[in-house]
Every structure is written in structure tokens, then in C-alpha cells.
């Protein structure tokens, strides 16, 4: 593993539980959308804690000199509470990677592609969608984004703008813990919902990527299969593990 000391340049609160951290990399990095990096913290006594985070920024053009990571705070974690409560601008943080060669999608793939993201599981899709927009790809992509509440719809303004460009990207939102006071669908992802989304897409689907917590991925994957999607098309990535 290649490690480097990256510097925090900017911190942005995305929701009550998620902050984006922007890092300047002394060694610019080549990566593919969907890959992750490791954050490694070291205590004065040598004790170390390390966790991996999907990259939310787009990779290029060229090597990336800056990375954005959207980090959800897990109260019983070691790395995310430190990042949320103690890390500051200008701090140096050790970053390793990139890693992961499985849960990736690049916009040179023609699609159609279905992304299903739960909460901070939208992170790898942001990298994919930002790269897709930056190179002017028209690959058909639909993102189903499930969050508990409106305020947990990370990157919603940016996603809405991307979906308004008319270039083949569309966004469908569902909120699981907030009914009524918004214009979104309310309720969990199920087979009927995914079936309806897929029916509106071009066929045949080439890839289905599902990212979120363990239970989210389990539910969404079961729903996708029950809606008739070939399990062989599905790739999954689980958070908090």
C-alpha cells in the first residue's frame, strides 16, 4: 500500500451525520470512479486505526491532486468520530490507496446502468456521475437514492442539476422516515418500486450497482432480483463493515 500525508483543505457539512473532507495530495492519484481510499490514524503510542472511504470526487482529467471523501459519523467508530470532532483544516491525515477493483463504473461504458444508493452509500455514485458529466457522456444512467429524511439527501442540489441537463441521467428519490411534507416518494425500496424505475429505462440493462448499509443492500438487492433483474448484473458494496 502506498501511503501519503494529505492535507485537509476544506470541510463541508452535508447533513447532521455526514461531512465532506477535501484533501490535497502531495502525490497526485489515478483512480477509477467507485474506488476507495484508506484513512489511517496513528496515536502517540503507535496504536493505529484505519477505515476505507469511497471517493466522491471525479478522478480526472489526469491524476487527481485533490480528493473529496464524504464521511458518515458512526458514534461507536474510531475514525469517523475523530474526523468529525477533531480533524481541522490544515491537519495532515495519512491516506492510502486507491483500492477496490470491483465496484467501479466508468462512463466509457455505454450503459444503461442503474445505481441504487442508500444514505451515504451515494458516495461512489457521485464520483461516477461527476466524471460522466465532466466528459460529456450520454450513457443512460438512473440513480435511485434512498434516504431517511430530506436533510439526509446528500448532494441533492447537485444531483438535481445533473438530472436537469437532459443528457440521459435521471434521479429518483425515496424517503423512508418522512412522509407527506415533501414531493418525493415515501417508503422503502421494494420490487414494485424498482420494477417501475426499470420499466422507464432503456433496455437491456448492462449493470446494476447497489451501495449502502448491510440491511439496505440486502433489501435493495432482494427487491431488484424480485423485480426481474438478472442477479449476474448486480454488484454490491456495503458500508459500515
Amino acid at each position: 500500500m502506498d501511503w501519503q500525508n494529505a492535507t485537509i483543505t476544506h470541510i463541508e457539512t452535508l447533513s447532521p451525520r455526514v461531512k465532506s473532507f477535501f484533501f490535497r495530495l502531495p502525490e497526485p492519484m489515478s483512480f477509477r470512479p467507485g474506488q476507495h481510499v484508506l484513512i489511517r490514524l496513528t496515536a502517540p503510542d503507535g496504536y493505529r486505526a484505519q477505515r476505507s472511504y469511497s471517493i466522491t470526487s471525479a478522478p480526472g482529467p489526469g491524476k487527481a491532486e485533490e480528493l473529496e471523501l464524504a464521511i458518515e459519523r458512526f458514534d461507536d467508530g474510531e475514525v469517523s468520530p475523530f474526523m468529525h470532532d477533531a480533524a481541522e483544516i490544515d491537519d495532515e491525515i495519512e491516506i492510502g490507496g486507491p483500492i477496490g477493483g470491483h465496484f467501479i463504473w466508468s462512463p466509457d461504458d455505454p450503459g444503461p446502468v442503474l445505481f441504487i444508493g442508500g444514505g451515504s452509500g451515494v458516495a461512489p455514485f457521485m464520483s461516477m456521475l461527476r466524471q460522466r458529466a465532466s466528459i460529456g457522456s450520454r450513457a443512460p444512467v438512473t440513480l435511485v437514492f434512498s434516504a431517511r429524511t430530506r436533510e439526509e439527501l446528500l448532494f441533492f442540489d447537485e444531483l438535481s442539476k445533473l438530472a436537469g441537463a437532459g443528457d440521459g441521467f435521471s434521479l429518483t428519490v425515496t424517503l423512508t422516515r418522512e412522509a407527506g411534507a415533501h414531493s418525493f416518494r415515501a417508503g422503502r425500496i421494494d420490487a414494485a418500486f424498482i420494477g417501475g424505475v426499470v420499466a422507464a429505462m432503456k433496455m437491456p440493462l448492462r449493470h446494476v450497482l447497489i451501495c449502502g448499509s448491510d440491511p439496505f443492500v440486502e433489501t435493495a438487492t432482494e427487491g431488484a432480483i424480485a423485480s426481474g433483474i438478472d442477479p449476474a448484473l448486480i454488484k454490491t458494496e456495503r458500508y459500515g463493515s
Binding site: 490514524l41 496515536a43 496504536y47 486505526a49 476505507s52 475523530f82 477533531a86 470491483h102 432480483i225 456495503r238
Partner: protein
């Protein structure tokens, strides 16, 4: 590099001799997998022993469960840094599988194969003399599908991705051929005590 303001987690020093470097203890059992959970019923499950491309023995669920059963309580260590202590498994030792097939390990390397196309590479030396089993029960219960049921490999002294879920074959290979995650950036051997997480660690 010491991280400014990071003091570590209180209490971790108690476990310093028991935990490999960079690991932390969890009490739940996280799930990691790259694709949908294969749903294989015990009636449809089979396990095949292969030498190169050639199948040399095959068991169905009933036949496999008639092989000698072994219990194993071990700590397990996931490459994503969680460890779970004192996990209790039951299944069939690789030694007993080879004995039932009347086979002595013909090469020094293996690939374990799974339903869903996943594979992982393991030296024979890491599978024998009671080090590894094909586990069919966890914590006294049949192994759940999301944890690899009906049966998974259990090689607890290596990072847990080596303990392939939904295992259906063990293949002896002439060379150390890389498996699914090993081709995707993970270490070819995966010793937690030497922190062999990624390709060049």
C-alpha cells in the same frame, strides 16, 4: 506519522496481544460481499474436490454431513479491520475431506471456488493439520446464507476473505493462482499478524 489529536481507543491495550495490528473488536457480525447473496438450498449443494481440471471426489449435503464433524472456536479478522473473538464453528476439516477421498495433497496450492463465481487462493500448508474446515454451522446453528451458508471455508488464521462463502469446490493447482479479490488489489496470502492487506503489503 502521528495524527494530531488522535489518542486511540481506551481499552484497546487490553487486547494488544490478542488482536493483530490495526484491528478492532466488534460484537456484531458484519457482512461483506461483492454481489447478491446466492440462495443455495442444502438439497442442491454439492462439494467437489479437484486436481487441476479433474474432479476426483464429490459429496452431496447428506454425504458431506456424514463425514467426521469437528468443532472450532477461533478469533476471525476481516481485512476491513474488524475482528470478532471466540467465534464457534462446526464442520469438516480439510484433512478429513482428503482422507475421505483417499487423496494426499498432490500439489502445494489450491483455489477454493464458490457459487457465484468467487474464488480465493490458499497454500495447502494453510489448510491441513487441523487449520481449516468447510464450516456448515455457526454459533450452534446452520450457517445463514448471508454468512456463506449452506457451507463456507474457514481459515481463521488468515484474513477472513480467504474463508470463502458459499464454497462448492477445492481445486489443487500446480502454481499459486490468484483468486477474485487477490486479482483486485488484495494480498496473495493475507496474514493478519503481518498486516498483509493489499497487494504489496
Amino acid at each position: 506519522m502521528v495524527t494530531r489529536g488522535f489518542v486511540g481507543r481506551p481499552g484497546n491495550s487490553d487486547q494488544s496481544t490478542r488482536l493483530p495490528p490495526g484491528q478492532h473488536v466488534v460484537t456484531d457480525f458484519p457482512i461483506l460481499s461483492a454481489a447478491p447473496t446466492p440462495r443455495i438450498s442444502a438439497e442442491d449443494w454439492t462439494f467437489t474436490l479437484k486436481v487441476g481440471p479433474r474432479p476426483v471426489a464429490k459429496w452431496n449435503w447428506a454425504e458431506f454431513n456424514a463425514l467426521p464433524q469437528t468443532k472450532m472456536t477461533r478469533d476471525i479478522h476481516c481485512v476491513t479491520t474488524w475482528s470478532k473473538l471466540n467465534t464457534f464453528w462446526e464442520g469438516v476439516l480439510i484433512d478429513d475431506i482428503l482422507a475421505a477421498a483417499n487423496l494426499e495433497a498432490p500439489t502445494a496450492y489450491t483455489l477454493a471456488h464458490s457459487y457465484g463465481g468467487y474464488s480465493t487462493n490458499l497454500p495447502v500448508a494453510d489448510l491441513l493439520v487441523g487449520k481449516a474446515m468447510v464450516a456448515t454451522r455457526y454459533a450452534g446453528q446452520p450457517l445463514a446464507a448471508e454468512h456463506g451458508g449452506p457451507a463456507r471455508l474457514l481459515v481463521p488464521h488468515l484474513y477472513f476473505w480467504k474463508s470463502a462463502k458459499w464454497v462448492n469446490a477445492l481445486q489443487f493447482t500446480e502454481r499459486d493462482e490468484l483468486g477474485f479479490w487477490e486479482l483486485r488489489g488484495y494480498h496473495h496470502y493475507g496474514d493478519p499478524w503481518r498486516e498483509q492487506r493489499y497487494t504489496n503489503d
